[in-house]
């Protein structure tokens, strides 16, 4: 236990003083602030003369700014944060020849991996919490609506899911840092994974769905079930991607008016407003119920990554050459 806390403390200090982390943090912070500002002032203008709808505060996170909404932004670029925190966790120590020294101290060998993972997790949490707090503060100023307890609960759940999501990428990148001796290779492998899951799976899913349950236009009009089946196949395949899992889960949590896990449609505030006039929002308990499987899957794949790096590391020769 002593080993884990000592290693974790050192890694935390390393993270918070490393240039690449600071750069990425400010980048994410800046984009979040700008997006929050655009969305916030947009909401304020559009909602000037109408009664405030329920959950207006959450719209700050789900409405699109110039290019994307805040949750989409975290979904796409959050993984980079996890990767930056972990891609050289073990192989940097190996190439600096500090690893053999580290494991010859009286600590369990797994403390090295555990300490590093924990430090990454803490860093991610601190970062996400502060970003959400800053955005909320800005939103408070701009829209002038105080979030109710349910909105705060939803934001909290959103934070938990986001932390797990980025922790998954931390796990992947630590796995690569155990598996690959060269820092450059592990960084590239992690980025390749990110690109694959974030961009290709979505494209690949529709191609594969075409192959598995093909729809031709003539028959589709006669038989709508074909279309449904195609769509279902596409959805199941795209769930392979943690990004899809994450986006669906967070959209449901932060957007109570949405009742199914359909993919994100960009809706302006007025459209939503009109929807909310006719629909009653989903209660928090049901939203949680819907995203529960998503959360479990995210946790499971994170654990798989972590457990794999753990076993590989425990069996590896420590010899520095």
């Amino acid at each position: 236990m002593k080993g884990i806390t000592t290693i974790c403390r050192k890694e935390l200090a390393d993270h918070f003083s490393s240039t690449r982390f600071i750069l990425l943090f400010y980048l994410i912070l800046m984009v979040s602030l700008v997006t929050a500002f655009i969305v916030g002032s947009g909401l304020r203008d559009e909602l000037k003369d109408v009664a405030k709808p329920t959950f207006v505060f959450l719209m700050l996170f789900t409405s699109p700014g110039k290019l994307f909404s805040l949750i989409q932004f975290i979904a796409i670029f959050g993984p980079l944060l996890g990767i930056v925190l972990g891609f050289d966790a073990v192989n940097r120590e190996r190439s600096a020849r500090t690893l053999s020294k580290l494991v010859s101290q009286p600590i369990y060998r797994d403390s090295v991996i555990n300490g590093k993972f924990l430090a990454g997790l803490i860093t991610i949490s601190i970062m996400l919490v502060s970003i959400v707090l800053i955005i909320s503060g800005l939103g408070l100023l701009l829209i002038g609506v105080v979030p109710g307890p349910e909105e705060i609960s939803r934001l909290f759940i959103y934070l938990v899911i986001s932390i797990f999501y980025i922790a998954f990428w931390l796990g992947i990148s630590i796995l690569f840092s155990v598996g690959f001796r060269s820092v450059a290779t592990s960084a590239l492998a992690a980025i390749a994974c990110w690109i694959f899951f974030s961009f290709f799976v979505a494209m690949g899913a529709s191609v594969m769905a075409d192959a598995i349950s093909p729809v031709d236009q003539a028959r589709a009009s006669l038989n709508p079930e074909l279309l449904i089946k195609h769509e279902q196949t596409r959805k199941i395949i795209s769930l392979v991607s943690p990004m899809t899992l994450y986006s669906e889960a967070t959209t449901i949590i932060l957007d109570p008016l949405r009742k199914t896990t359909q993919s994100i449609l960009l809706m302006g505030p007025m459209e939503r407003l009109s929807i909310s006039r006719f629909q009653s929002p989903l209660p928090l308990s049901e939203s949680v119920y819907i995203v529960f499987p998503h959360l479990i899957s995210l946790m499971a794949i994170t654990l798989v990554c972590f457990a794999t790096s753990y076993t590989v590391f425990m069996r590896q020769e420590v010899r520095s050459t």
Partner: protein, 252 residues
């Protein structure tokens, strides 16, 4: 030397794929002894040290270090054994004191005590530190000294030094040898070290072991080995001559 065995091995063997790196090694090393471990490159010296520390699992055979089995009780062994790897590495963006403090924390030494120890040790290894200077800017010799300080900070009973004088200037080597000798004499620390510099080994070792291609071909006091190879009354032969004789035979 009170005859207590600090390191014992029984048929300790390590096989990498097809290659036998260490072949049925049997050695006994006494408390407070300085044991010089010799052998050509690739003989299996580092592999032996790694197995004795529990960092590498033996293919077969047994080892005991300070009464503990390094494979099953690695923590106990690591608490008592200080290890200086060949080409030791440091956290280059920290200074010497920060590096030492990290190691002492990993050994569970409270920070206030560690502060005092670090000051002492830096004097012992004769390393002047400018706190603004990062270890990345250190010379080879300074790094080696810092490495020794890291080994000693846990107050070990046994130290394993893999080529401790590698890259040191003549004066630095002499200081290092003095330090090793004083560890054994004053603190009763057992020193097990590997080196290619035979005159240095001859100066400080009580006994030496010669390993060739994974096999320990000779163990004993240098005089005894000379007697064995060159006949009675030939104890004046240097370790270098003895070693070369074993080396040539070992290659046949």
């Amino acid at each position: 030397m009170n005859g207590l065995k600090v390191i014992e091995t029984q048929d300790l063997t390590k096989v990498y794929g097809e290659e036998v790196a260490v072949d049925r090694l049997n050695i006994n090393i006494n408390e407070g002894e300085v044991f010089g471990f010799l052998g050509p490159n690739g003989a299996g010296k580092t592999t032996t040290l790694l197995m004795l520390l529990g960092l590498s699992e033996p293919t077969s055979g047994k080892a005991r270090v300070c009464g503990f089995d390094p494979t099953r009780e690695p923590l106990q062994v690591k608490r008592l054994v200080g290890y200086l790897p060949e080409n030791v590495g440091f956290y280059d963006d920290m200074n010497a004191v920060q590096n030492l403090l990290y190691i002492s924390r990993l050994n569970g030494i409270p920070d206030d005590l560690a502060g005092i120890k670090i000051k002492e040790l830096l004097k012992v290894v004769d390393l002047e530190v400018d706190p603004r200077k990062k270890v990345g800017e250190y010379s080879r010799g300074m790094r080696q000294r810092l490495g020794i300080a890291e080994v000693l900070i846990k107050d070990p009973q046994v130290v394993f030094l893999d080529e401790p004088t590698l890259g040191l200037d003549p004066d630095g080597s002499l200081q290092m040898l003095d330090l090793i000798r004083s560890l054994s004499q004053d603190k009763k620390i057992t020193v097990f070290f590997s080196s290619h510099l035979l005159d240095q080994v001859q100066k400080i070792s009580h006994r030496v072991g010669i390993m060739i291609k994974g096999q320990m071909v000779a163990v004993g006091r240098i005089e005894d080995l000379a007697k064995e190879k060159f006949g009675v009354g030939q104890e004046k032969y240097t370790l270098e001559e003895v070693y070369m004789k074993y080396f040539k035979e070992g290659l046949l």
